[in-house]
């Protein structure tokens, strides 16, 4: 696609419910990143994919968080049993690898509100 696409753009859920956030990277981009940004804060690294594998999951806050990527393309970030502290904007980014410039292309984010 033309850019990184994330859905939903906004999600309001009740505490304890599960949510899935989707990221469609730019076609051909093999690296994919998830970050979390709380209100007025910087970006917190969550996980990084190279192809379908995740060499670095160190940023996932707890075992309630998981992510997968299939077909080297779409990625899903799942948060189980959501808590109010999970409220944030979840940003996805992709990068072309192999002689690339290192530039990350970001989506517009999914704003999650846990009531």
């Amino acid at each position: 696609g033309a850019g990184v696409s994330q859905s939903p753009s906004n999600k309001v859920t009740e505490k304890g419910k599960d949510v899935e956030l989707r990221c469609d990277p730019i076609s051909g981009h093999t690296a994919l990143y998830w970050y979390r940004q709380s209100l007025g804060q910087g970006l917190e690294f969550l996980i990084y994919f190279q192809g379908n594998s995740a060499p670095d999951k160190s940023g996932l806050p707890s075992d309630r968080f998981s992510a997968e990527r299939t077909g080297g393309s779409v990625s899903t970030l799942t948060i189980q049993r959501t808590q109010q502290e999970d409220s944030a904007v979840y940003l996805c980014a992709s990068r072309r690898t192999g002689g690339d410039t290192g530039e990350l292309f970001f989506g517009e984010g999914s704003r999650l509100t846990v009531l």
Binding site: V4, A31, Y33, Y35, Q41, G42, L43, F45, Y48, Q50, P55, D56, V89, L91, A93, R95, T97, D100, T101, G102, E103, L104, F105, F106, G107, E108, G109
Partner: protein, 112 residues
């Protein structure tokens, strides 16, 4: 802990003035990137500087890198109201581009 930290946290200037933001980092790097974020939206890449470069220009942007001090600066010359945004530096944790860590950002407000 943060790999990169920006300074100041917030900056307020008048149109036409220059804006300087600084970034410090902790480990050795082979590149450093600057991004911009308009309120509530995704980040946009501005410029990348490699460890063997000391200065780089792109339009009204000037980036410097001092690897001996583990610091970088972003200068925006002749600022405009449209430059109002948050600016972040990003550095790789272990070389390459694989795991980019962002600082807390500098919030820039340019007043007409």
């Amino acid at each position: 802990s943060q790999q990169g930290e920006e300074d100041p946290q917030a900056l307020s200037i008048q149109e036409g003035e220059n804006a300087t933001m600084n970034c410090s980092y902790k480990t050795s790097i082979n590149n450093l990137q600057w991004y911009r974020q308009n309120s509530g939206r995704g980040l946009v890449h501005l410029i990348l500087i490699r460890s063997n470069e000391r200065e780089k220009h792109s339009g009204r942007l000037r980036v410097t890198l001092d690897t001996s001090k583990k610091s970088s600066s972003l200068l925006i010359t002749a600022s405009r109201a449209a430059d109002t945004a948050s600016y972040f530096c990003a550095t790789p944790v272990s070389g390459g581009y694989n795991k980019l860590i962002f600082g807390a950002g500098t919030r820039l407000a340019v007043h007409p």
